[in-house]
């Protein structure tokens, strides 16, 4: 496959790379192209900011939210599991 060495990318590609980089799936070359694009495109710069903010809040919510089973729920789970364990 022919590799794309064009350093200037259009907005749709820049936003695609921006999405990929939120999941650490963008290559170094793609990130360089994105940075260059962001230097002169305000629309994509704003998209990049919003995207990064969204990733940060989801990470925060995901890593800190803590919910637990009630004791009665845990006991009932325990007794069902023990039955299964004895089979």
């Amino acid at each position: 496959m022919k590799k794309d060495y064009n350093i200037f990318i259009p907005c749709d590609e820049a936003q695609h790379v921006c999405d990929k980089s939120q999941y650490n799936e963008a290559s170094l070359l793609e990130k360089i192209k994105l940075s260059l694009h962001l230097a002169f495109c305000k629309v994509c710069l704003q998209y990049n900011r919003n995207n990064t903010k969204l990733t940060a809040v989801i990470k925060k919510s995901n890593s800190q939210e803590s919910l637990h089973l009630e004791l009665s729920e845990k006991n009932s789970l325990q007794s069902m599991f023990e039955k299964e364990l004895r089979k």
């Binding site: 749709d12 936003q15 695609h16 999405d19 990929k20 939120q22 999941y23 799936e25 998209y47 919003n50 995207n51 903010k53 969204l54 990733t55 809040v57 989801i58 925060k60 919510s61 995901n62 890593s63 800190q64 939210e65 803590s66 919910l67 637990h68 089973l69 729920e73 845990k74 789970l77 325990q78 069902m80 599991f81 299964e84 364990l85």
Partner: protein, 184 residues
């Protein structure tokens, strides 16, 4: 000798809260989360012979739990969603990850203030997610919150990587706009 071993007698005590917390954030229904956790423990018992001892007990259980969560997503997604995506980007998927190699962050480090703020934040995220089309929300959740790799999601929904990125792009744009209004 294997690095890790299984001891099912301690599973409920050691992992039920962790698995429950992991699940309820993703399915947003207490009863369903309890059922999924129970199914996970039962499935763990049935597949103990497959445990190679390379991953920790908790990681192994989480890998089973993730499968159960996918099954749940599959159940709630009707066939109508399959026709949703037609537009394509030019990108190929890269396979990565293995069920047993996946790790999740420990959620138990927090203070009370963070917890309150986080409940609100979680609600705001869930609220924005509920405004997305069902399939888009599920795929966004799997990719962003659950950390499933591209290939797994593509296989589950029978879509290409290009389609997946289009869905993610739309979902992220909508989510960012919604969170901008309600949270930022």
């Amino acid at each position: 000798m294997a690095e890790h071993q299984l001891n099912p007698n301690t599973w409920i005590d050691k992992y039920s809260d962790y698995l429950f917390n992991y699940t309820i954030v993703r399915v947003d229904d207490r009863e369903i989360a309890k059922d999924i956790v129970q199914e996970t423990f039962f499935a763990g018992l049935r597949s103990m012979k497959n445990f190679k001892g390379e991953a920790s007990e908790r990681t192994w259980l989480i890998s089973i739990l993730k499968r159960k969560i996918i099954d749940h997503y599959r159940k709630i997604n009707s066939n109508k969603g399959k026709a949703e995506v037609r537009m394509a980007y030019n990108s190929d998927s890269e396979t990565e990850g293995d069920w047993l190699e996946e790790r999740v962050a420990d959620p138990y480090a927090e203070n009370a203030e963070n917890k309150i703020e986080n409940n609100e934040l979680g609600k705001a995220i869930q609220n924005c997610l509920s405004k997305l089309p069902e399939k888009q929300a599920t795929i966004f959740r799997m990719k962003t919150i659950d950390g499933f790799d591209t290939e797994t999601i593509c296989n589950e929904f029978d879509i290409t990587a290009s389609n997946l990125w289009v869905i993610i792009h739309r979902a992220r744009t909508a989510m960012a706009a919604c969170m901008e209004k309600n949270w930022f």
